[in-house]
Every structure is written in structure tokens, then in C-alpha cells.
Amino acid sequence: MNVPLWTIPALPLAGFLLNGAVALRAGARRAARASEAWRAAHPDAAHDDDHGGGDAHAAHDGHASHGSADDHGSGHGHGGAALPRGQRLFHGVVGVASCGLAAVAAFANLVPYVKASLASPEGIAPVVQHAYLWMAAGGLSVDIAFRLDPLSAMMLAFVTLVGTLIHLYSVGYMQEEEGYGRFFAYLNLFMFAMLTLVLANSLPMLFIGWEGVGLCSYLLIGYYYDKDFAVAAGKKAFVTNRVGDFGMILGIFGIISLFGTADFSFLDKARHAMVNGGSPVTVYAVCLLLFLGACGKSAQFPLYVWLPDAMAGPTPVSALIHAATMVTAGVYLVARCSAVYVLAPDAMTLVAWIGAGTAVLAATIGLAQNDIKKVLAYSTVSQLGYMFLACGVGAFGVGMFHVFTHAFFKACLFLGSGSVIMAMHHEQDMRAMGGLAPKIRQTFLTMMIATLAISGIPPLAGFFSKDQILGAAFATGHTVLYVVGLGTAGLTAFYMFRLARMTFYGPFQGTKEAEGHVHESPATMTVPLWVLATGALFAGFLGVPAALGGRNTFVRFLEPSLARVPEHEVPHSTEYLLMGLSVAVALVGIGLAWRWYGQATATSAVPSAAADAFYRKTGALGPIVANKWNVDEGIEALVLSPFRKLGTFLWRGFDALFIDGIVNASAFLVELTGDLVRFFTTGNVRNYALAFSLGVLAFALFVLVR
């Protein structure tokens, strides 16, 4: 079967157009009805078309037309009813089908390509299909061309697969929403942009996708726009991503300046170190600029702050955009440009340190969260840090392997949390949950698989990818980074099992009424969960390292797309030791979480109230030794509680410091410049003429003096 590559993004685009058109029509009709209703309710507001004076607008301010219907649960729903079944069916079918067909088209290309690539020892040349010449100027031509090489093949595989599953899941999850059609239109548009990003053969085209996914992310974060926090979250995402995009654009210009081209042929030039010596920019600067772009998109320090807030969007969006696909675009960018990065080892070191730092920082903050989605969000930031750590130490393939496995278990976790939230009637606070395991069995089982996977328990997916990252950090001599990564693995296991324990075990913490309403989700939601859980179970086997008797197929497959980095061999015995160590650390984390969060009582607001009370009472160290029975509380007090407090501090403190810092500083700068601008724009013509004359005088003097 021969399916051209352009069909893969084109199918979701068609879905977007279809869904969008129908939603627009329905929206226009609804608006007309609302307008009529408003007019009926305000007979005094004469609607005159001509200008010439304010009408009585101020007199009937307020939420007159809506607001009465706002009786939904927290974090959910606009005023207004769900769509009729027929329309819902239409949007759902179009949304899922366009994405599903894209997946089919993708796999029709992928299967033969992967087979051929694996069959040949050196890999095969990338498939590049030119659609048309986009723009050409001064020897700088940019094609709309689609590229299938191992790296994009791997991205394509999980993006289409996970995307289709999440579309399917949304059919059930979003059914009570008024903006159902709008939601699917945005989601399809997102898939189009993401697939454009993945399949692009040049940086400018990648940038189309990059901005497209950003726009969809923005629109979907603000989906519940009658909620203030959603609007604030959208704003935050917008601000931080601008910082990143600034770096990205400059990076693209830098690449053009260095290599004279922006299509991916610059990678070959970079491999042969054919850098334009006369260029005003350096490789190091370009790498940093591109990494700044990656930091924005992939939520790395210090630009990570938007991602946790992005959880204000609907849960399927969190799963698809803010966990599995879009946020990995930054890692993809760095891996894609790996040939350039290896030319600037210092830049790579920075990438590794930022990655490791973000990993441990976010994991620490994750300890302090009580909102189930926030825990997962910080976990995503932390896992993305691992991926950058891998790229930074030169193990690009391993980093991408983690992208791949992470997509499965994190999407599964998010969708599972969505199922939990739905079962709890839009309660997201884990302190109000507990004992859900028998009530939502499917969700529980799938989430536990994914939790074990992310914690790095063999032989689940997360174990293989994470362990190889740690192995690479150790093998390349980055011992400190290795230790940081190892510690983060322990924290990961801890906060994930804290989540599991608080949600699924122990007594139910909510009201009796809420308990009665807990229900399992429909099949459109549980089926995707099971598929993703299967992925979380088995995806790791694609890349079993040599030490475990595998052939590391995944990383070997990716090699032709990535920079060749000298391999660091470590003896198998060391590798076994490292693996044992990381599993042990994970088990310790699990064990501690299990112990500490198992004893939650029905009244406690903080799960481990006993520990906290103890911590408050003991000012000195002495009593801890005496209270042998309370040694657990001692550990809690000495180790975990400070950690949690640190997490809270970092969460609240840094966020406030950084975002407010940016906002305040830029506001100050803007005000200053703005005042200067306004100083001349006084409204008085004579001042304008003065400004004009001064300008002329300055320019004339300049010309005369030089």
C-alpha cells in the first residue's frame, strides 16, 4: 500500500475543517437564539445602528444572559446544556475517524520503513516527499516536504496511536460539554499541527507545527473560560512560551546563518562540521537558543511553570498535549539537531544539568501536591527532565526511548486520573478520595500498571528507558548527574505510590453521598486505558539493553537520525549493579509511600497527621531516639516533611518569584519605555512638531559630523 506522507497531517486537518464548520454553524445559531433571548429580556435596549452617542449600555451590565445556568461542579462545564445526541455522534465520529485514519496512513508508511530499516545494518536513507516549494529567496528555499526517518517514524508511531486513543476517550469524557464540537475541532487541529511538526523536513516547517500546537494548547487550556484559573493558566502558558519561541526563532535564523539552509540537510553539513566560518553567530549560541525554545515547549527550568497550571484544561488535553505529545517536542528538537549539539559540548553539558535539575526540582514539588492532576503534571516535568538529561550526556536515542515509553504510561495515568475525577464528580483533591480500588476496578488496574511502569519496576516500560538514561549518565562519567537521577527515581516512586495509596486504598475520605455516586467509566474510556496500559507493560521490550540479553533494537533503529557519539562501554557486572541500585531505590520509595500514606485517618486533612503533629512537638532530636516505635514518624519528620516543605516552597515560592519576577520586570520596562513613548505623544501638536524637529536635527547633525 502506498500512502503519501502528506495525507497523515491532512486527515486531521480535514477533520478540523469539518468539525469546525459544523460547530461554527451550530454556534452561530445558538448565538442568534441567545441574542433574541437577550433582546426579549431587555426590551428597553433599542438597537440603533448609527453612532452618535452612547446608548444605555451601562445600565444593563452584568451577567444577564448567562450566569443563571452556572450550577455545574467545580472545574467543569459552561453554562448551557450538552449537545443533542446526533450532533455529538457526528463530532465524535469525525474526530476519531480523522485521527484514526491518520494513524492507519502513518502505519501504512511505518511498517515497511521500519522493516527495511531494521533489515539493513546501516539503516536506510530517509524518505523525503516534496509537496511543493513553499518559498524561495536569495538561495534560501524552503520546501513543504515531509520526511520519514527513524526519528520521525518513532514520533509518528506514538503520536498517532496515543492521539487516536485519546480522541476515543474524549468521546465519553466530554459528552456533557456544550462545546463538544469546538473541543474536537481544536483536538483535530492539534493533531494536524503535531504531525506537521513531526514530519517536517525543515526548521521553518517544523516551526509551523510548533506554533500550531502552541496555539491549540493555549485555546484548550482556556477551554473552560468561564473559570478564572483557566484564563490565568492560559496567560501563563502564553507568557512562558513566548520566551521559548523567541529563542526558537533566533535559533532558526542562527542555523540559516551557520549552514546557509534551514532544511534538514544542515544536519549532514553539521556532521561534517561544515560551519560557515564568517557567520556572526556561533554554534554554541545557536544550541542555547534552540534549547531555550525546547525549554519553553517542554517545560524545563526555568520555563516549566506553565505546565502544572495547564492542567486547567480538560483531562484528555492534559494527557495528549501536556503529557504525551506536545511537551516532548522540545526533546524531539534537541534530538533532531543532535548533530549540531555535539559540535558544542558545553551546550550539551548545560542541557544535561538543566534536565537533571528540573527532574529533581519537579519531583520534589510533586511530593507536596494534593491535586491528582498536579502530581501528574509535576511528574511530567520531572520525566521530561530525564529526557533532556539523556540528550545532554549524548544518549539521544535513549532519551527518545524514554519519550516513547513515557507517552504510554503518562497518557495512561492522565486518562486514569480523568476516569477517577469523573467517578468522583469532578473532585480532584486526593485528600477527598481513598478506597476507590474496588469501585473502579478497570481504572485501578490500568493505573497501577502505569504507576509501576513510571516507578521503574522491571520489566515494565519505564524501567528500561529510565535505567538506560541513568546508565548513560554513569558511563559518560557524569557521576553527580547519575546520583541526582537516581535520587529522582526514588522520589518518583514515592510520589506515584503516594498518589496510588491516597486514591485507591484506605477508607473513603469524601462524603457518603459522593461515595454512593462513584462509578466506573464507559467503555470508550476504559478501552483506551487498557491499550495504553498494555503499552506501558510491553513497550520497554523494544529496547532491552545488551546486558539483559536484548539487542537494544529501539536505540539501534534511531541511530541513523542521530549524531554519533563515542560509546562508553561499562562492564555488564557494573550495569547489573546500577540496575539493582535503581530498582532498590524505587522499592524504597514505594515502601516509604506505602507506609506513610497507608495510615490516613478519616478526619485528617494532611494525610500523615500523626507525623506532622509529632514534627511540631519535637523541637530537639532527643525524643526521636527514645520513641523507637515512632521511628517511622522520625523519618517522616526528619526527611520527608522537610522535603515536602521544600517542595511547597519551591512550588509556591519559585513560581511566584519567577513568574511575578518576569511579569513585574517586564511591566516595569514596558512602563518605562511606554512612559517615554507617551512623553512625546502628549496630544499637543506643538510637541509633535518639536519631536519631529528634534529628530530632523539629530539626523542632520549625525550626517554633518561624520
Binding site: 507617551r678 505623544t681 502628549t682 496630544g683 499637543n684 501638536v685 506643538r686 512638531a689 518639536l690 524637529s693
Partner: protein, 100 residues
């Protein structure tokens, strides 16, 4: 001997007076007159240079400038009238509602 430099000097003085007039006078009518001064400075320049170069273009240009200046004055006066009707003043300082 009067050279072209004298004419250019005179024209520069006139131009400066015109510019300063625009900068400091509040009355729109006076400002209009100041602008006419600038245009006349231009005319002196053009004629002087044309004479020096033995070229007719400058002379022709002067005629055009005078014609355009007449049109400009007409429109300027019309604006003065509508400003006066609305605000009962022809001071430019009173026309500074929009700013920033």
C-alpha cells in the same frame, strides 16, 4: 556681489523662522502662516539654484509649489472653521483630547 550663498542663507533664516513659528505658536492661523514661510524659503532656494544652474526646472517647480500652497491654505482654513465651530477656538492646544 550677491552670490547664491546669500540667497540660501536668507532662505535658511526664513525656514528657521517658519519652523520656530510652528513650534511655538498656538493659533492655528499663525501656524498656517509659518508653514507658508517654510514654503517660501523653499521657493527662494529653488529660484536661486535654478538661476545658478541655468536650469528651468526650478522656476517651474516654484509655480507648482505656489499652487499647492494655495490648496493647502484652503484646506487649512476649512479645518480652522470646523475647529472653531466645535470648540469656539482656533488654538491648537485645545485640540489635544487624544493622547498616549
Amino acid at each position: 556681489m550677491v552670490t547664491v550663498a546669500h540667497y540660501v542663507g536668507l532662505s535658511f533664516v526664513l525656514f528657521t523662522i517658519g519652523v520656530v513659528g510652528v513650534l511655538i505658536r498656538r493659533n492655528l492661523l499663525t501656524v498656517l502662516m509659518s508653514i507658508e514661510l517654510i514654503l517660501n524659503a523653499v521657493n527662494i532656494n529653488l529660484v536661486a539654484f535654478a538661476r545658478q544652474l541655468g536650469d528651468l526646472t526650478g522656476h517651474v517647480f516654484v509655480v507648482f509649489v505656489i499652487a499647492v500652497a494655495a490648496g493647502e491654505a484652503a484646506i487649512g482654513l476649512a479645518i480652522v472653521v470646523s475647529l472653531y465651530r466645535l470648540k469656539s477656538t482656533v488654538s491648537l492646544d485645545d485640540a489635544s483630547e487624544m493622547k498616549g
